[in-house]
Symmetry: C2
């Protein structure tokens, strides 16, 4: 659509929450905790790439840390346009969930 997809939204919020420590693995952990569902590695990085390409986050490769697995992390950070996009869906959400009549359930 023209709005953030739900995934993009969740991912942005997770990055926001993680602050200085947002990279692939922690982000994956964060959305897993949040949703209680399984997220494949690929699914996470896919969204991350898209957010980057869309210019909603900035990214920087950190220095390799002195620990067993050496590959250096790619850190993410929400930038202005990202916050704006988030605000947009928050407003939409708010408008969407009002004026709902009593749910007349159907049998089945």
């Amino acid at each position: 659509m023209k709005f953030l997809s739900r995934q993009e939204e969740l991912m942005l919020l997770s990055i926001w929450k993680l602050d200085d420590n947002a990279y692939g693995v922690t982000i994956r952990q964060s959305v897993t905790d949040l949703t209680g569902k399984y997220w494949s590695i690929g699914a996470v990085y896919d969204v991350l790439d898209r957010l980057t390409k869309k210019g909603l986050v900035s990214t920087v490769v950190g220095d390799p840390v002195k620990a067993r697995g050496g590959k250096s992390k790619r850190f993410y950070r929400v930038i202005k346009s990202g916050f704006k996009a988030l605000e947009e869906v928050r407003d939409l959400q708010q408008k969407a969930w009002v004026d709902l009549p009593e749910p007349a359930f159907e049998k089945k």
Copy 2:
């Protein structure tokens, strides 16, 4: 994902709101009003079909009404599973938008 997509959510809410009068055209109007964006005919019916296939709405073709354009309408109604799915994303949304630190904006 495993949750309703944003479109599916908006569409379900619109159907819910429209109550007895939810069919292609009014639903399209409703989501257009809500989002302020253009929705093609096809985009609307596409989601509607998906919701039906997923068993989140029930549908019934109405009797042709005595008015100019004769084609009878296909009415939609949110059913139990649909309300449940909506509830799920509402909860998710609520959980997602908390514990957010001060947005430390980046320049650019």
